[in-house]
Subunit: 308 residues, 2 copies
């Protein structure tokens, strides 16, 4: 993979075949060698010694802390089953782990300090647990659902409808104006609170839309700019709660900005030199997202004239 | 857009700003000039004279046929609001239209006969109506939901949770073996019933997965083949019920096929000459999907050595 961003790189084999066997899942969930990654209110358990890593525990510790918790199957590594599990809000990190130096951490923060493969497992686990939290009932008939296939589906206990975990495609785009050697960046209302922080324009792909159409619509809605020559760059899973960020570059076909002030607080054209300084952290006027976010890499691809 | 496939090319302005104004939506839904596209059990109303086109009606006709039907806002064309509306299963096409020569048609079939822009509107409308059919209840608490923003969200009447229409990203890939000038195509169980019909390998992007990772996992699961050099080609909205098809080409890093016989009924390497004949409809041994599906265009891109 040419561009691998944080929250990708999950090394687990998701066990598509094993998941279909409910008895296999149940046995694995009781097996002594299986490993469990606890979450509390969507914060992940980390062990800090000597460096931050995912806080895997064995089943006995998890069952002691939460006898009724339902482990969700993440996949296999070297034949060992790995699960994510949501613990009650009252769980205490050191108490659950049975030793000192463990903590529950916000997953956005954890994504910035964990090794790459751990961020990939974290993304899968957080997205899955969050989805189960919000899908205890059938959207078709309102009755309770139960998890099956280790958490890859929930089935309605009344109407038998199946519901699958969702992944929401989002387009995120750096628009270049080749004529003036500038790029278009904006501030979303509510998202980028720091005054000088600008990012690539982004939005959910709508139903009945191709990627290139979603890019054109979002840039028009947020900035009033027409685009052409939309090119895919790379993608990133973003588990807040469960987006697939589809990173693109595009060229501007117009330059006069008309931004939507309900969605955006500012949109500007930035010169290449300013953007390079912002990437290096030395700009007075501009801050851009850090390398945890695909926006950083798209902005850098434009600023450094990366070929892709 | 370099590659525009059927079900893309929707010419409507989705009216992001107008949707936020519930009074505007209510007024538009009663306006004499507004246009309504009826569906019956997810089949779309078509008018056949002289060529098949979407069967738009005015509000009076729709309200006469279904006084309680809730129109979903699709967007604007030349300032005129366009809506999709689900009619009861007993609705009669000519009766609803008030003239002869109209019919309800399966949307897959309609996609193959309608003009391009109509297929785009059809994709948005069918995906949206299907989603509303299956989301009358809150997945978080089980209580009823109501549509807002002209159908862009459903809100729970009890816990106030918002639920948004879903779009499921799917990767679909033609894998090439450069050493032998062949490509890898397969038959999914249940999907491609015709004996000689083979297509590109496809599957849903999982939570916590980049596009390139999903391609590698799906090809490994379905064919046992390792891939490298995954390149994005183009995308297509596929409204059955609401997928975003992300079309890729990749190179094989292994060649021995081990296919998953629960998911696939056959997987083979095909030579370029055979694939070119299949695209032209002159092969005895191989049939490939028609141009309504992105698979056709991916297979053609490989077979014709398209540069992209």
């Amino acid at each position: 993979m040419r561009h691998q961003h944080p929250f990708a790189g999950n090394p687990l084999d998701r066990g598509e075949r094993e998941r279909r066997d409910e008895a296999w899942i149940a046995t694995a969930a009781r097996a002594a060698e299986s490993r469990f990654l606890p979450f509390r209110n969507l914060e992940v358990l980390l062990s800090d010694l000597p460096q931050p890593v995912l806080g895997w525990l064995d089943g006995d510790r998890v069952r002691a802390a939460a006898p009724d918790a339902e482990p969700m199957f993440l996949g296999l590594a070297d034949g060992v089953a790995h699960f994510a599990v949501a613990l009650p809000d009252c769980a205490d990190a050191d108490g659950v782990a049975g030793r000192k130096g463990w903590r529950f951490e916000d997953c956005r923060t954890a994504g910035g300090v964990l090794p790459g493969p751990d961020t990939g497992i974290l993304a899968q686990a957080r997205s899955n647990l969050d989805w189960h939290r919000r899908h205890g009932f059938c959207s078709a008939c309102g009755q309770p659902t139960v998890a099956q296939r280790g958490g890859q589906v929930r089935r309605c206990t009344a109407c038998d409808a199946q519901h699958f975990p969702r992944t929401d495609p989002v387009v995120i785009t750096v628009v270049a104006d080749p004529a003036t050697d500038r790029c278009l960046l904006g501030q979303s209302r509510g998202r980028l609170s720091r005054m000088r922080m600008y990012s690539a324009l982004a939005g959910f792909v709508d139903q009945g839309e191709a990627i290139e159409e979603a890019v054109a619509r979002e840039v028009m809605e947020e900035a009033g700019i027409r685009v052409t020559n939309v090119r895919y760059h790379s993608s990133q899973p973003w588990p807040f709660p469960s987006s697939l960020m589809i990173g693109c570059l595009a060229d501007a076909a117009s330059t006069a900005i008309h931004f939507d002030d309900e969605e955006m607080s500012a949109v500007h054209w930035f010169e290449r030199g300013e953007v390079l300084r912002a990437l290096a952290g030395t700009s007075e006027a501009l801050t851009v997202p850090g390398p945890i976010a695909i926006a950083h890499h798209l902005i850098k691809a434009w600023a450094t004239r990366e070929r892709f």
